[in-house]
């Protein structure tokens, strides 16, 4: 081990100690940034400390949850795991997670899509999990074509990495096609049956990226995900290496059978949370689990114990009322949240909180791509509120969806605004990125955690 890596990791860890133990501040970014400034090759130098492998997880939606599930599943197996659990997913966040520099069996790392180009060439992970690609933060991330190019280039510079990709997503498969052509090994997972769910609007990828013809679908699961095929050039969903069959999605969560193509494995898996998008997160986790030679029982135990306290689908009780908090930071995320709350048969109130800070994306145009109209026609949605720095933009959007909404200051204000509703009626709080932590802290102060049903 070089002097430089010793110094960089020691200084990085000292930074962590000052931030975390002395100042009680978040230490998810700065230690890694400091260490990387001393040793830019830090990521490649820590490779040898991890004995079994690296898993990097990227994709527009579901990264943090999937990363946490994979880490938890490996820990249930008894492995030592390094992980950036709190979702700090740029190169500095990834480096911070690796700084403890203790010997570990696995490192499981969430990576921002555009950061893959800084992370993959140095880390050369065993697997890159690509969950999905949706339109998100156009002002910062650029158009989807650009994001695809970046991930494909990152894979090209990490030839030993196997791409574990959502075969149902034409946009992720676009990356896989480019990477495969340059020699990357590709394994695909997907949902192998028609779930018969009402599908939301599809704002993107209606056309084949290879030839421009309109894609055909045998069925869709959500957004542009499904059994797609281009009638003109044949670009389509590949044979699934890991398929979910006998899928159930409902109020009590999701369950499915994982079927491995070679017939090695058939597990029944159940998670008592989430909607159809969660099938994909769990399916990706199950595929890693199977590749890692870990039994399905470890995954099931990880799912049973899953309670991340990170504001993703977290439940609280405040003055007797259930409050469900979830992240919704782009049209697909919000559409999935609307599906989730409409599936809850109880009368309910909804508060959507939209900020436009840097890490949210400054441009809130995407609110007009969200299918809020579905809430307008459901009489179980008894009250809707708009919050955050762009509350007024949201209020106008809701008005044109046929939903009269009032503006609220924050979650506490929303709670008092539903004070006249019976406490049996839950409040759903959906926030984008920078509004999530403040909302979670407010709810933790005001109430107590609610055990999942």
């Amino acid at each position: 081990m070089s002097v430089r890596i010793l110094i960089s990791t020691k200084v990085g860890r000292a930074t962590h100690w000052v931030l975390h133990d002395v100042l009680h501040r978040s230490a998810s970014q700065l230690p890694g940034r400091v260490a990387l400034s001393i040793d830019p090759q830090l990521l490649s130098h820590v490779r040898e400390k991890v004995s079994r492998g690296f898993v990097v997880v990227c994709g527009t939606n579901g990264k943090t949850t999937t990363t946490n599930l994979i880490a938890a599943m490996l820990e249930e197996h008894g492995d030592v795991v390094l992980c950036n659990r709190d979702g700090a997913n740029m190169a500095a966040g990834v480096a911070s997670a690796l700084l403890p520099l203790r010997d570990a069996d696995w490192a499981v790392l969430e990576a921002d899509e555009l950061s893959t180009i800084h992370i993959l060439p140095q880390l050369r992970p065993t697997y890159l999990v690509l969950l999905n690609l949706f339109r998100d933060q156009l002002d910062r991330a650029g158009e989807i074509d650009h994001v695809q190019d970046v991930i494909a280039s990152a894979l090209e510079q990490s030839p030993e990495t196997t791409l574990l990709v959502c075969g149902d997503d034409p946009l992720s498969m676009g990356v896989a096609a480019r990477a495969h052509a340059r020699g990357t090994r590709v394994l695909a997972f997907g949902v192998d049956e028609d779930l018969g769910l009402p599908t939301d609007r599809v704002p993107e990828a209606r056309f084949c990226q290879q030839c421009g013809a309109e894609l055909d679908y045998a069925y869709r699961t959500y957004a542009q995900l499904g059994a797609f095929r281009c009638p003109s050039c044949g670009f389509g969903r590949p044979t699934l290496d890991y398929a979910a069959r006998n899928v159930k999605v409902g109020r009590e969560g999701v369950s499915f059978s994982l079927v491995e193509k070679g017939g090695r494995t058939e597990w029944r898996i159940h998670a008592d949370f989430g909607g159809v998008y969660m099938v994909y997160n769990v399916l990706a986790t199950a595929a890693v689990c199977e590749r890692a030679g870990v039994g399905g029982s470890c995954l099931q135990r990880a799912l049973d114990a899953y309670d991340p306290h990170n504001g993703r689908l977290q439940s609280f009780v405040v003055d007797g009322r259930e409050v469900v908090l979830n992240l919704a930071k782009n049209p697909t995320g919000l559409n999935q949240n609307v599906s989730l709350l409409l599936a809850d048969g109880r009368p309910k109130a909804v508060c959507v909180v939209i900020n436009d800070n840097y890490n949210d994306g400054r441009d809130v145009s995407w609110l007009w791509d969200v299918d809020f109209e579905r809430m307008a026609t459901d009489d179980q949605v008894v009250r809707v509120m708009a919050g955050g720095l762009r509350a007024h933009d949201l209020q106008v959007r809701l008005k044109y969806a046929g939903i009269p909404a009032r503006c609220v200051e924050g979650v506490a204000d929303a709670l008092s605004a539903v004070g006249d509703l019976p406490v049996e009626q839950p409040l759903y709080v959906l926030t984008n990125y920078s509004a999530l932590e403040p909302a979670r802290h407010e709810l933790e102060r005001a109430g107590e955690p609610h055990g999942r049903k």
Binding site: D139, R362, D363, S365, H392, V396, R397, Y400
Partner: protein, 250 residues
């Protein structure tokens, strides 16, 4: 809601290639036009024009063109060039047309895709080249067609240059506008509005929406149509959203 007693008025909107030109919540503009017509008891028929169809503009009152990625914009332009003559007659006849972002660039003689010069529709005397960096951020524009400042978001690499006889949509109060240096934003030619204020231009700028509707009503129903048909609406939420952003930015 206002219902004009006995009114049988109706307008038809042609939404060009919604599946390709929909980069920044562009469909919001069509939704706003439709709702603001319906709230006034004016029926509204939205006709989506898809790739491969031959659109006719003879019975259309408002044409909307959104923005897309370079690749999608190229597909659209190739289709539209075939219909150029028809579009030219529509525009010269006073037809109302709103073009946003990439759609705005298509109105001109040419624009650049990478280093390649792509021929545009030449509906308006303007052209677009490129500059660095991209011009990204909130934008506020003062325009004679809207009582309130126009507020929205821009995100474009293109720099658009207006011919001498083309009026800009307005003057930039905050942000970049057409080219980041002229101080002007968008174009106004006959009843054509082109602008880089993308996506939901109309929701927070009801003045612009009603200007477009007014011009379309006049063209179809005569000069007194605005007075007869364009009843005032309660725009409290829209104007508050406009005011909040204007105050924050200026």
């Amino acid at each position: 809601m206002n219902h004009m007693g006995g009114s049988e008025a109706g307008l038809r909107i042609a939404h060009l290639f919604p599946e390709l030109l929909n980069l920044y919540g562009d469909t919001g503009n069509v939704l706003v036009l439709r709702k603001r017509l319906e709230w006034r008891g004016i029926t509204c028929d939205v006709r989506e024009v898809h790739v491969g169809e031959r659109p006719s503009f003879s019975d259309v009152d408002i044409v909307f063109i959104g923005g897309g990625s370079d690749r999608e914009q190229r597909i659209v332009c190739d289709y539209l060039l075939v219909e150029r003559e028809e579009l030219v007659s529509y525009v010269e006849d006073g037809g109302v047309l709103l073009a946003v972002c990439g759609g705005y660039q298509l109105l001109g003689h040419s624009y650049l895709m990478g280093d390649e010069e792509v021929r545009g529709l030449s509906l308006v005397d303007l052209y677009t080249d490129r500059g660095s960096p991209r011009l990204i951020g909130n934008v506020v524009v003062r325009s004679r067609i809207s009582p309130q400042p126009i507020v929205g978001y821009e995100n474009h690499g293109g720099r658009t240059h207006l011919g001498a006889d083309v009026e800009p949509l307005g003057s930039v109060v905050h942000g970049f506008g057409n080219d980041g240096s002229s101080g002007y934003e968008g174009c106004l030619y006959r009843n054509v509005v082109g602008t880089y204020v993308h996506g939901p231009l109309l929701p927070k700028n009801p003045g612009v929406a009603d200007w477009l509707i007014a011009r379309a009503l006049e063209r179809r129903y005569g000069n007194d149509a605005v007075e007869r048909l364009l009843a005032p609406l309660d725009d409290a939420e829209e104007l508050e959203a406009n005011r909040v952003m204007c105050e924050r930015l200026t």
